[in-house]
């Protein structure tokens, strides 16, 4: 693995305030998860115990310790979305994507990935678009007023095919 990118990220954060979170966030932006080799490298370079890096990584829901699929779908489970039917959206998405319902990753965080690794499904706590509830996010795009019946059309924008 090429650690030059990691060095560049680390160099960006000179000020101690927000340093660890910032570095981990940038690493995740680069690799779409936190690869173990990189964590080991960062730990050595910053002289921070690996265990404390991992305790940060597991504490915050933003971080993924496993690679996620090509497209990450997050269903908002905030209050506004909850009362407007988010649980049904999540249920419906699991079936459309053919993801096993009870699968949970090792770190206990809820991210489910399809076997072809095209899609990952996770839940989120509010994107601040509560007025457009229920809301889902796919990669960087937020969709408001989502209805179950619209899901296939939305998924098709990302190369999903009906079985």
């Amino acid at each position: 693995m090429d650690f030059k990118v990691v060095d560049e990220i680390i160099d960006k954060y000179k000020d101690p305030s927000g340093r660890i979170l910032g570095i981990l966030e940038d690493i995740q932006d680069t690799y779409n998860y936190l690869p173990k080799e990189v964590m080991v490298y960062v730990s050595k370079k910053l002289n921070v115990p690996l265990s404390s890096l991992y305790s940060v990584a597991t504490f915050y829901s933003f971080f993924n310790l496993e690679p996620v699929g090509e497209h990450l779908i997050s269903v908002c489970m905030g209050t506004a979305c909850h009362v407007k039917g988010a649980p049904e959206l999540l249920e419906s998405l699991k079936h459309l994507l053919g993801i096993d319902v009870n699968e949970v990753t090792d770190d206990g965080k809820f991210v489910l990935t399809t076997t072809d690794r095209k899609f990952s499904l996770s839940s989120a706590r509010c994107f601040g678009c509560c007025s457009m509830a229920p809301v889902i996010r796919i990669d960087d795009r937020i969709y408001g007023y989502v209805k179950i019946k619209d899901l296939p059309a939305i998924l098709k924008e990302y190369g999903w095919k009906e079985k």
């Binding site: 915050y60 009362v83 601040g128 678009c129 509560c130």
Partner: protein
């Protein structure tokens, strides 16, 4: 002062007034973008370039009327601002043609703004009003609002410091620097401003604590973690008017004697981070941040730190731990952050909205500010009015405004003529307030009396189709998930409560459960370490207090009156209404629906997973949810 006579400000003023050419601005906060505002903007941009139209295209924030987004402001020279609603890319060519030919008969006009009071300058007359179009203040949604914090949102371009300056920005800072820090604090104390982050602690007093600490280094922090799921005013405030937050922080730093500021923004708000970053850089270029601000001997700078998705990090001591790169666990107070905060140094933390009130208070005076709001609850609060209500959006009203005004007069009740049952305020730390108490004035004191809290200003409206037991369960599920695990009552007590609620919503509840729940709730409340645990039982306590009958229905009759609790409901197809189109059967993910096209369909209850797809896709309202319960078999 020289900066304020810079020619770029005058240019921005002319642009705001569309003095030289028409101005089109698209509402591009995250809410507008999520319903296609960005596509509308791109289409404007493409066509303006392609056809060479002489029109200035700008971004603006959100004026709060989220229900009507995407919103587009069209301003012809000399005329009022027209606000068009629900604009799609397909509308763009016609809008541009009309703008170009000076034809003002636009479709989709929602209201007009002829005069707007940015508060920091005398009311600006934007231009001649149009005949036959409602002014913004004649619309029920705005009529009862008082825009102090959102004074610039949806009008100015948040990515232009010049436009902020053109409406009186950074004048409060200049004024503050000519006062002593003590005088600044005194003014904030006179204003009676209380923290908008939840607890409502008097801001001036908090500043004084930090001011009095002796230290070589002090910090100010802006809490932009906005953890309440269902509340989004801080997001919009940052995205729509980032400079007024920055100006407030600079004034606060001067008052408490800090030279470094940090804005801690939650990870879910990338656009807010981007706009803040840009605004900080602009402020630095203009000399409002950095060394010797405006020629004084006061130096201060701001950096932005992104959170990583943990509700508890909104709690101030956890937030500090998080900035220091540790896991966000709260610690007991005292010592308060004012004594020992970030890196052990005196630190003053305020919420986004608290900071944004500061420029107004300094510029117009604490006494002026006190004319808004009610006794010991001065000023306004921005509420995010969401859930089962027609006019969803951000509503800024004076503190002390009754809930009914917010929900019925501004919000216009529930969609589909449904009956509103309650509102939830304060998020996971708050409670549910039943409809029969909606004449309660909304302020820190009165909401607390009802067992809820004001919190950060989330108001989630619930109608007859919302189950209050499920709501309580929902919030506990949230707090159990977000509990940092440090203290036992919160970690174990909440989990036990959740188990009980789980049982009740699944039809396995016992009568004793209700009294056990009450007992656990009061224990967790008094014995938890931080605010998370101390307030987490509130949603349970209030729903039990006001909606115990719903709990009893679940426990005794195994029935969910609102037909929400999945284990207690079934889906059925009404034979009479079914046209036999077969849509539901095609979309059922588990092939539980069978029938003959043209005749009627039925659901196999053993196969059905209750995902609700059939209900959503049926065009004839033939699919029904039923909750039979014990008695009716």
């Amino acid at each position: 002062m020289r900066v304020f006579t810079d020619s770029r400000i005058e240019k921005a003023e002319r642009e705001l007034l569309a003095a030289d050419k028409p101005r089109i601005s698209v509402g591009l906060a995250t809410c507008g973008i999520s319903v296609g505002g960005d596509r509308v903007f791109e289409e404007f941009k493409r066509l303006i370039e392609e056809k060479g139209y002489d029109v200035s295209l700008k971004k603006t924030g959100c004026i709060g009327f989220c229900k009507e987004e995407p919103l587009v402001n069209v301003k012809l020279p000399g005329k009022a601002i027209l606000v068009l609603h629900r604009v799609t890319p397909e509308d763009v060519p016609e809008i541009l043609q009309k703008v170009e030919s000076g034809d003002d008969s636009f479709n989709k006009v929602l209201f007009q703004i002829d005069v707007w009071d940015h508060k920091t300058v005398p009311p600006i007359s934007y231009g001649q009003p149009y005949e036959g179009i409602k002014r913004w203040q004649e619309i029920d949604f705005f009529k009862y609002q008082e825009k102090l914090v959102l004074r610039n949102a949806g009008i100015i371009d948040p990515e232009s410091i010049e436009e902020y300056l053109a409406v009186g920005g950074y004048r409060a800072l200049a004024k503050a620097l000519n006062m002593s820090p003590e005088e600044v604090i005194e003014e904030v104390k006179i204003s009676g401003l209380r923290g908008r982050g939840g607890a409502g602690f008097p801001t001036g007093l908090k500043w004084e604590f930090t001011r009095k600490e002796k230290s070589d280094k002090k910090y100010v922090i802006c809490n932009a973690d906005e953890g309440d799921p269902g509340a989004y005013m801080n997001r919009n405030e940052m995205e729509s008017d980032p400079h007024s937050l920055i100006e407030g922080m600079i004034i606060g730093a001067y008052a408490v004697g800090a030279d470094e500021g940090i804005i801690y923004v939650r990870a879910e708000y990338p656009l807010a981070v981007e706009r803040l970053q840009r605004a900080v850089e602009e402020a630095r270029e203009w000399g409002f941040l950095g060394k010797n601000i405006l020629g004084s001997d006061f130096s201060f700078d701001i950096k932005i730190v992104k959170g990583a998705g943990a509700f508890v990090c909104g709690e101030e001591t956890a937030l500090i731990a998080s900035i220091e790169g540790r896991i966000g666990r709260p610690r007991p107070r005292p010592p308060f952050p004012a004594q020992r905060g970030l890196w052990g140094k005196p630190t003053n933390i305020n919420n986004v909205e608290t900071w944004m009130n500061i420029p107004l208070i300094i510029l117009k005076g604490g006494e002026w500010f006190k004319q808004f709001g009610s006794e010991s609850n001065s000023g306004t609060k921005v509420f995010s009015l969401v859930g089962k209500v027609n006019n969803v959006g951000l509503v800024e009203v004076e503190l002390g405004t009754p809930l009914s005004r917010i929900v019925f007069d501004i919000g216009k009740g529930a969609p589909g003529g449904k009956k509103i049952k309650a509102v939830q305020t304060g998020g996971p730390s708050g409670g549910c307030i039943p409809e029969w108490l909606f004449d309660t004035p909304v302020d820190y004191v009165n909401l607390a009396k009802l067992g809820s809290i004001m919190g950060s200003g989330g108001i989630v409206v619930m109608d007859e189709d919302t189950c209050m037991v499920d709501t309580a369960r929902y919030f506990l599920d949230f707090t159990v998930d977000e509990s940092c695990g440090k203290c036992v009552p919160c970690r174990e007590g909440l989990k036990r409560m959740l188990d009980i609620l789980d049982d009740i919503t699944k039809g396995r509840g016992k009568k004793e459960d209700i009294s056990l729940l009450k007992e656990l709730a009061s224990t967790v409340k008094v014995t938890s370490l931080c605010g998370l645990g101390q307030t987490a039982p509130n949603p349970v306590i209030t729903t039990l207090k006001y909606f115990e009958d719903e709990y009893i229905e679940h426990v005794v009759r195994k029935r969910c009156p609102a037909k929400v609790c999945v284990e207690l409901i079934e889906y059925e197809i009404d034979e009479e209404a079914c046209t036999g189109c077969g849509m539901c059967a095609r979309r059922c993910p588990v092939s539980a629906i069978t029938g003959e096209i043209g005749k009627s369909f039925s659901i196999d209850k053993d196969k059905c997973i209750k995902c609700g797809t059939c209900l959503d896709v049926c065009k004839f309202n033939a699919v029904k949810k039923v909750s039979r319960g014990l008695e009716d078999g």
